[in-house]
Every structure is written in structure tokens, then in C-alpha cells.
Symmetry: C3
Subunit: 427 residues, 3 copies
């Protein structure tokens, strides 16, 4: 049996070559492969032209071929070789132009001469090619034949969602996006880690919370999903996370919610701190993914983001260098483990209340050494500290923060306290 990290890495590898975009076959194929891991995944479609708040779902874009024939007859920038070569949503073209004319349609990065950049033009008809700057520098004067066999038509935009019910309606929300072609950290890591987190959630025995995981095209997908589900989401979601850039093995990053202090933020920081993970905390002003929508005024969902290398903060970002070598089994596994612990912590996060006034007599229940001593064990200390903040109002995570102890360590002392009827679940 393969290790979890190997399975995640392999799924990335399988999905990597697919040409994803906001809409189209690539998205459907991607969702289909995810569904093969998560049979409960429900795949929905939103027709082109559907109004979603201020936006309209774009037409489907289909691309068959795209390349340039250079003056020497060589095929370059061939979409078949790397789907980053074509600017996303390029319109069909079949023409000849000079190098000078072509240059305005070419994109490369002088500072990263070996990288093919990632460009799209979703909402205005345009076209273009992306190539490495090294290749560009070798282009000679002459006639270039441009050929793009693409098509726009009224179809749909697809997304996937999976609702995993628990004992209560309170929901944890995980969101990730499936619209990026052939880049690994941003963004196959998010969908892949989300897939395996869904499996973990499904495996939780006596699952207390409900879970809503969505796999959507970035921005328009999130907006479309919100426009259909806002009421129930605002009612049920108690914490949410945007999963993106969770595949490389560099430092962790944390982007808080707009509110900065929701349950989502508290549990994320708690887990990062007590797993002793080095991480950089960013300002919400540096946000850049779908928390832009989830935290928007009027939406106001408690959504933050734990990442590895944050989008925009690593050289390989939005280029062909964000490839399968940039991410790793360790990177994916590290992010998975953190999110798993966040989920587990939220599952533990009940509100307890003391059943008696004053400290209970732990000794007569075998929970305290009968011989007085200078020091008591850490466990007993944790019991006493937990009880003294256990006021029927403060939730478990906030108590854990106050007594500076990871909730998963504290959680072990809860069962005996419940058995002995010293505490009970509040409300």
C-alpha cells in the first residue's frame, strides 16, 4: 500500500498535463479524476451567461491546436508541448505577421529566461503566446505564421462539491480551485490535498461537524457558488479555509481572514503554534485567492488560508517552473497534516461546563496523587487549568490558548472528566 504522500504526489502527476481553464473539458476531466477518489463528489454545471452577483459566467472555451511557425518553418510555442504556451481564452487566429507585430502578442520574463509565464484573458477577446525569454531572444526577423484553433460557445462552467454531514449543522468549509493548467503548487496542490482531506473527514468516527468542500474555478467559480448557496453558508459555516499553494516543502504561510480573529483564524494559529511550525503571518491586505470573495462585506464568512510558499511570493509562481519538481511528497504531506490537525481540533472544540463549584476532589476519583508532593504531573496540571477556565461559555480552543497547551493534548483529559461527571458538554 502506497503512503499517503505518495498517493497525493501521484494524483498531482496525473492531473498535471491537463489543460484546465475556467471552463471546458480540462475542468471536467479533472473533476472526473477527483470523483474517482471521492465517489460522493457532486459535479454541477452553471450555464454560460448565468448572472452571478456582478458577474456573468463566461462562454466555454475549447482549444484544439495553437502554435507559431517561425520564418524557418519551425513550429514553436506549441500548445501540444506545454499548455502554458497559449494565453488562456485566446480567440482563433490564422494569419501571418512580422516579428515586430508578433512581439506585442508574446509574453516572457526577462528575469527568468527559462520560464514560460502563465497568462489569461478571460473577460476580453484577445490572444497571445507565452514562451521562455531565451527562446524569444533567438527569434529572427521574418514572417511568422500564427495558428490558433479555438472556439467559444454557450456551454457551462463546472464545479465539484462534497457535503459530508456530521452530528450538527455547523459546517467547516474548504475551498480550492481547479482552473490552472499545468502548474503544480498553484494549483494542483490545493485540489489534491482537499481530496485527501475529504477522505480523512469521511473516516472520522462520530463526526460532530459537517463539512462542505468545493472545487471551483477561481473567482467566477467561487462567486457563482456563493450566489447559489450564500444563505445556507452564512447560517452554517463556523470556520473556513482556502486551500492553495500547499505543495512545496518551504516555510508555511498564514493569511488571516478579514476579521482576523474568527474561529478559523484561532484554530489555524493554534495548530501552527503547537505543531511548532515556523510560519510567516501575512496581512489580509496581501490576500489573492477566493478569500477575496468569502470575506467580502456582506458575505463575511470566516475564511483564512494556511499555505506553504504563498502565491506571488516565490519565483516559480505563475510560470512553467511551478512544476512537479517544485512540489514534493513532503510538502503536500506537511500541509495535509496541518489541515488535518485543524479539522481534528475543530472537532474537539466543544464548550464544556463544570458540574460543581470549586475544584472537584480529583483524589477520590484516582485523578490526583493521594500523597502531597512538590510538583504534580503535567496532566494533572492541565486538568486543573482546564477546569478553572471551563466556565460553560469559553470554547475549548480558546481555553487551550489561555492555558497554552495544544487542544489535542488537553482533549485526552476530557474523557475521564466526563466519565466522572465532573464536566459536561454545554448547551
Amino acid at each position: 500500500m502506497k503512503s499517503l504522500e505518495k498517493e497525493m504526489y501521484n494524483l498531482c502527476k496525473e492531473l498535471f498535463p491537463i489543460n484546465r481553464s475556467l471552463t471546458g473539458e480540462g475542468v471536467r476531466e479533472t473533476l472526473g479524476i477527483i470523483k474517482s477518489h471521492l465517489p460522493e463528489l457532486k459535479i454541477s454545471e452553471v450555464p454560460s451567461g448565468t448572472k452571478c452577483f456582478d458577474w456573468d459566467v463566461p462562454q466555454e472555451w475549447k482549444i484544439r491546436k495553437a502554435y507559431i511557425i517561425d520564418p524557418e518553418g519551425k513550429k514553436i510555442a506549441d500548445f501540444k508541448k506545454n499548455n502554458l504556451h497559449i494565453v488562456g481564452y485566446s480567440e482563433p487566429v490564422d494569419c501571418v505577421m512580422s516579428l515586430e507585430e508578433l512581439n506585442s502578442k508574446l509574453h516572457s520574463i526577462p528575469e527568468q529566461p527559462n520560464a514560460i509565464p502563465y497568462y489569461t484573458s478571460y473577460y476580453k477577446k484577445d490572444w497571445g503566446f507565452c514562451i521562455t525569454d531565451n527562446e524569444r531572444k533567438n527569434l529572427k526577423e521574418g514572417d511568422y505564421k500564427i495558428f490558433i484553433d479555438s472556439e467559444f460557445f454557450n456551454g457551462c462552467m463546472n464545479y465539484g462539491e462534497i457535503l459530508i454531514p456530521g452530528e450538527t449543522d455547523e459546517e467547516i468549509f474548504l475551498s480550492t480551485y481547479i482552473c490552472h493548467p499545468s502548474m503544480a503548487n498553484n494549483e494542483l496542490s490545493g485540489p489534491v490535498v482537499s481530496t485527501f482531506l475529504a477522505k480523512h473527514i469521511q473516516s472520522i468516527k462520530s463526526r460532530r461537524l459537517s463539512y462542505r468542500l468545493i472545487f471551483v474555478p477561481e473567482t467566477i467559480g467561487a462567486i457563482a457558488y456563493l450566489s447559489k448557496n450564500l444563505e445556507i453558508m452564512k447560517k452554517n459555516i463556523i470556520a473556513g479555509y482556502q486551500l492553495t499553494c500547499v505543495g512545496d516543502n518551504n516555510n508555511f504561510s498564514f493569511l488571516p481572514s478579514r476579521d482576523n480573529n474568527t474561529l478559523a483564524d484561532i484554530s489555524a494559529r493554534h495548530v501552527l503554534r503547537y505543531l511548532k511550525i515556523d510560519y510567516d503571518e501575512y496581512s489580509f491586505l496581501t490576500r489573492g485567492s477566493d478569500e477575496r470573495q468569502y470575506c467580502y462585506p456582506g458575505i463575511d464568512l470566516p475564511v483564512c488560508s494556511i499555505m506553504r510558499s504563498k502565491y506571488g511570493n516565490y519565483d516559480e509562481y505563475h510560470t512553467s517552473l511551478d512544476n512537479m519538481e517544485f512540489i514534493s511528497e513532503e510538502g503536500l504531506r506537511g500541509a495535509y497534516d496541518v489541515y488535518k490537525m485543524v479539522i481534528n481540533s475543530l472537532e474537539m472544540n466543544l464548550i464544556y461546563k463544570n458540574n460543581s463549584l470549586c475544584e472537584p476532589q480529583l483524589g477520590k476519583r484516582g485523578l490526583y496523587p493521594h500523597l502531597s508532593n512538590l510538583d504534580v504531573s503535567e496532566d494533572i496540571n492541565n486538568i486543573l487549568n482546564f477546569l478553572t477556565y471551563c466556565d460553560g461559555e469559553t470554547d475549548f480552543l480558546r481555553i487551550a490558548e489561555k492555558i497554552q497547551c495544544p487542544i489535542w493534548k488537553l482533549d485526552k483529559i476530557v474523557s475521564p472528566l466526563i466519565e466522572h461527571e465532573l464536566i459536561s458538554v454545554s448547551g
Copy 2:
């Protein structure tokens, strides 16, 4: 046409020689000159003896002559030469006394041997002379003839006010005092900068806010004004500033209101920070001007003070060295510019609300580049940041603080957002 700073400096020069006090001709002459610049200035009088809260308006004090004849027949400490020589509100005297007796009535500053100090005895009948310590050290034993031709009588206390209406009743309050004789920073700078700020305010097109500027004798004038106008002031004033010591070209100072976090404080600190001005922030415990009254319990107005060298914190303070050389065109202009920006910022400080849920599609309005890219411009970033905090409750200044951008920079992006009906003014 003269520059603004030259005009301000010249007005100081014109007002400098006048012998101002709590009451009397000097105040009326000063107000008259200010009225020549601000024809709308309304000059009021409060009769001597009028009860104002715990205080009584003092009698008018008129002084014609005051000097000492030394044993050699030389006239010294002549009020005609420098009106600081006579202790303010000195009673009439015509007598001869020994140097020893006289000494108890003389004031000088040993540490500043060339400075004539500024003394008053407003509320108890007394008299005295102020001279330089150098002059004092040369006084010989012998008989001194003292002559003070002054008079107290029931007259009035004068003050000026100008109300500049705007679209709303919400008022900005500017207060300054006009009771100091022949000192420049403290206090001609305040009345002069206030005069020119009034002109600026009058020139604001489609002025949103109303303005209340008052030129009063310190303490008793502010108290008298409050006793007559408290109700309307508490109802309308949303931010106020005490203008004092705004003439020298040294570092800026900031004295917060008692509350420390009113709109007045927020806008003052915002402007100082984003104009990149070095300034010292003082504690409210070091207050010393009419914010003492405006922030008093039960009055509770949001009044703070932006100054250059703070009263009491510069050697020349309350001496003849606080003269026309101590202040400068640059000093006056610097303070004027800061207050002007505070006023402009408050004019901008509306509450906006988003007209849609989720980010609007900026691209279709030409507000966002259609080609995706690694970075967006600072302007677009500001738009997105502004919108994401634009919740219909947080005012513009507080949003500007959150997104760490000067409000006057942000304000430029508001018009296109309003034109495109993406936001509207709230409430």
C-alpha cells in the same frame, strides 16, 4: 501677488505690537484686523461680571502708561517700549519704594538673562513689572518711583466667531486665542493660521461639512463661549482642533484629546503619518490650552491639537524672545498645510457601501487589466482593498488607516467607483 506664507507672516507682524489681554482695546483692535481679512467674522461681547459656569467675566482693564524711574532718574521697564514689561491686569500705582521693596514686584529669568518674561494677575488685584535679568542685576540701591496708569471698569470681554455652513450640520471646530501681548508663536500664530484656514474653508467647492472657528481669550473666553453654545456644539461637532503654537519651523507636536481616539485624533494622526511628518506625540496629561475646557467631563468635545514647538517646551515660551524671529513663513505654512489636509481629509470622510456582494467585475468597466498578470498596479490594489473594507459602517478614514494608504490617495479612486455604481454613499 504675495505668497500665502508671506501674507500670514505679515499679518503676524501687523498684530505683534498690539497689547492684547483678556479684555480691552487690544483684543478689539486684533479682532478688527482679522475681520478685515474675514468680513464674515462676527464679533461678540460678554459684559463684565457675566457668570459663565464657575467663572465670572472680569472687568475690562485699560492701561495707558507704566514705568519705573530709577534712582538716577532713568525711565525703565517702560510699557510703551515693550508691553510685556507690565504684569497683565496690574492695578494703578503711584508711589516710591526702595529697591528691596521693589524686588518683590519684579520678575525676570536668571537662566535667560536677555528675556522679559510674560506675567499676568487676572483674577486678583496686584501689580508688577517684568524686565530682563541683565537689567535687573544693574539696578542700584535707592528710591524708585513706580507709576502705573491703569483702570478697571465694567465693560465687556470680546471674541470673534465665524460659522461657515456646509451641506450637513456636522461641524469641524477650530479654536484659537487672542489674549497674548507681543508674543509670536504663542500666540499670534494660532489666530493668523486660523484666519487663513477660514479663507481656505470658504473656498472649498461643494463643502460637505460646516465649520465653527472661534477667536477667544484663553480659558475665560473658551468657557464663556461654551456656556453659551454647549448644546449646539455637543450636537454638531464631530472633530475639533485647538490652534496654538503653529508658527515656528521646528518639529511638529501632537496633543491628543482626552478620549485619545476620536475622529479628531484619528484624522490628525493620519495626516501627520501620511504627510511623513516627524512629530512628537504628547500625553493628554501635558495639555495646557483650551482643550482643557473642551475635553472637560460633561463637555467632552473631540478636540486635540497639532502644534509646532509645544507651549512650555521651548525656551522662548512666554518671554519676549517668542518674537517675530522665532516664527517664520515656513513654520506658519507648514502648520497651515497640515491643518488644511486635516480639513480636506474630513471633507472626504464619508461612509461608503458596496452595491454588490463579492468583488465586482472591474475588468468590464475598464478598471482592471484584461490580461492577467503577476502584479496589478497600486491603484487597482487600492481599489480592491478599499472595496473589501467598504462595509457601509466603517468610515473612509478608518478604512484608509486599515489599508495603510493616505485618504487623499484613496479618494481619487472613489469617483470612478461611484460613476460605475459600484459603491454609494451610505446613510
Copy 3:
């Protein structure tokens, strides 16, 4: 007449040899001696077996003799020589055992070879002896004769309390414990300093507040007392202090209440700061005495603790080295003085309100120099600062904190302000 510190030290000396425990003669003797200093002390008894919240009052324990006869016939670990030799609440034993068997019943501290440790087994029948590690190392193989002449029977648990009424029902609560045998800092210092604080409180003329001082066995005594008096305590107590470890002359320690910012905490920190006392502030997580009960959820009393060397934080703690040499007259006196100042500060802590709007005219009441000057005295400055925060809502201590001046210094300016009817007591 002896000095206060000498009296306190002597009372410690008198109480030191008594064998105190949760119950029994030692406690009664101790309370009797305290009563000889405080005739108003009311001594109560709670019958064995009484249910107090989750606890039951234990049986009385009486011990007459306890010793070991070593293989050479020498009597060791003799309770008569040091009552720490016997584990508190040891059951009767009369047997012979090998050194190996005995070892499991012996307690010593290898790191402190000259110290006899302090052990108890209150709530489970057991027995044991405590000796120095040096003595233990010299024990030879052979038969040891164990003899403990002790007895358990249904009797009572005793505690003392003294209620000192004041003008209002608002109470200050002082708690200390009287269950530790022959240790000085922890714990004779607490009962002794409390005794002399009670005398001080009785001597306060026109005492505003009421006081509740209790001398109880630790934990079970506090719990029993709470179970009988909780309602009235929650109604009346505005600040409380746990007096423990107040006898040595080392640094001060402060343990806040669970809330961390009650009136008890504020006044304790205020006094420590303005008496310029170096102290270590601890987290509530390091609590260890009866504030564990007083701050428990549902009890929620505002109780904190000012100590000298904190329990558990000094080597001599809970050993025979915590003796009369470890504490000192200076140590006791220092703690007494701090608590006395806390009490005095709380007596001063009224809420005042201004009788007029705007600053009053201090000059006409002789409270302000009639001649203006550059600086006013510290007293006048304090008057003005006090008045400007005197809003009829903020209490005197919180004003003193705001204006960074000890309340006892400010309190001197209150009388003239009241006489002149400038302020009055609020509510």
C-alpha cells in the same frame, strides 16, 4: 513598646512549634492564640463528613507519638522532635519491617540532603515518615520498629473569621490558611500578617468598607467556607487577597486573579508600582493556593495574591528549611506595609464627580497662584489632572492610574476640593 515587625515575628515564633493539620488540636490552639490578639475572632466548626460542594470534611486526626527504632535501638524520625517527620494524616502503625520495606514509606530530598520534606496524605489512608537525606543514607540493614500512635474520629474542622463592618456593605476579603505544621513562610506568615492587618483595619477611623478575614485550612477550609457563604460573598466582595508566603525578605511576587483585571488586581499593581517595589508578576496558570477556589468558574471572586517568595519558587518551600531563619521581621513588615497600603487605597477609592462644567476657577479659592507662571506646582497639576478625569464614572484608583500618580498622593487634594464643593462623591 515593641515594634510591629517584632510583634509579628514573635507571634510566628510562638505558633511555629504547633503541629497544625487540616483538623485537630493544633488548629484550635493556633486559632486560640490568634484570638488572644483579635478577641473578635469567631471560631467555627464544621462536623466531619459535612458535604461541601464536591468534598467531604475529613475526620479529625489526632497524633500522639510517632517514631522509628533503628536496628541499633536508636529512636529516629521522632515526631516529638520535628512534626514534619510524620506524614500528615498517617494512620496508626505498630510493626517491624526491613529497611527495604521501610524505604517505600520514607521521604527525603536528595538535592537538599539537610531538609526534612513536608508530606501529607489527607484523603487516603496511608502512613510515612520524612527525614533528611543525610540521615537516610546512613540507615543500616536490619529490622526497624515502626510506631505511630494516631487516631481518626468524627470530630470537626475549625476555622476562624472576623467581620469588621464599615459604612458600606462592600467588602474586602482576606484569606489565609492555618493548616501547615512548623513551616514559617508557608505558612505562618499569612495568618500572622493577617492578624496584624485586622488590627490595622479595626483602627481605621470612619472605615468606609467592610472586611472579611478568614483563617481556614487550605482547600477544604476555603471550600467549606465558600459553601456556607457564597451568596453573601458574591454580593459584597469587591476585592480579595490570598495571604500566603509573606514572611521572607526576598523579592515580591504578584499572582493576578483569573480575570486579571479586577479591582483587586488594579489596586495591587497600583500599590506595588507606586511604592516602587520590584516584583515578579506571575501568570494565573501558576496559582497554587486558595485563589484556586475563589476564582473558580461560578465562584468568580476577584481574588489575587501579593507574596514575597512565591510558593514553589524557593528551595526551602515545603521543607524544614522554611523555618524562623528563612523569614524575618523585615520580610513580614514589608508585606504588611504593602497590604496596608492596598487596604488604604481601597478605602480611598470613591467615585467622585465634578460639580461644574469646565475647569473651576481654582484661583478664587486660593488653590491656584494668582500670578501666572511658567510652571505650576505638582499639587496643582494633580488637581487639574484629577478633575479632568473626574467624570462621575471612573473610580479614583483608575483615575490615579491614568494620571500616573499614587492614589495616596492624590487623596490629599480631595479634601479641599470637597470643602470648596468643586467635587462630590458620586452615587
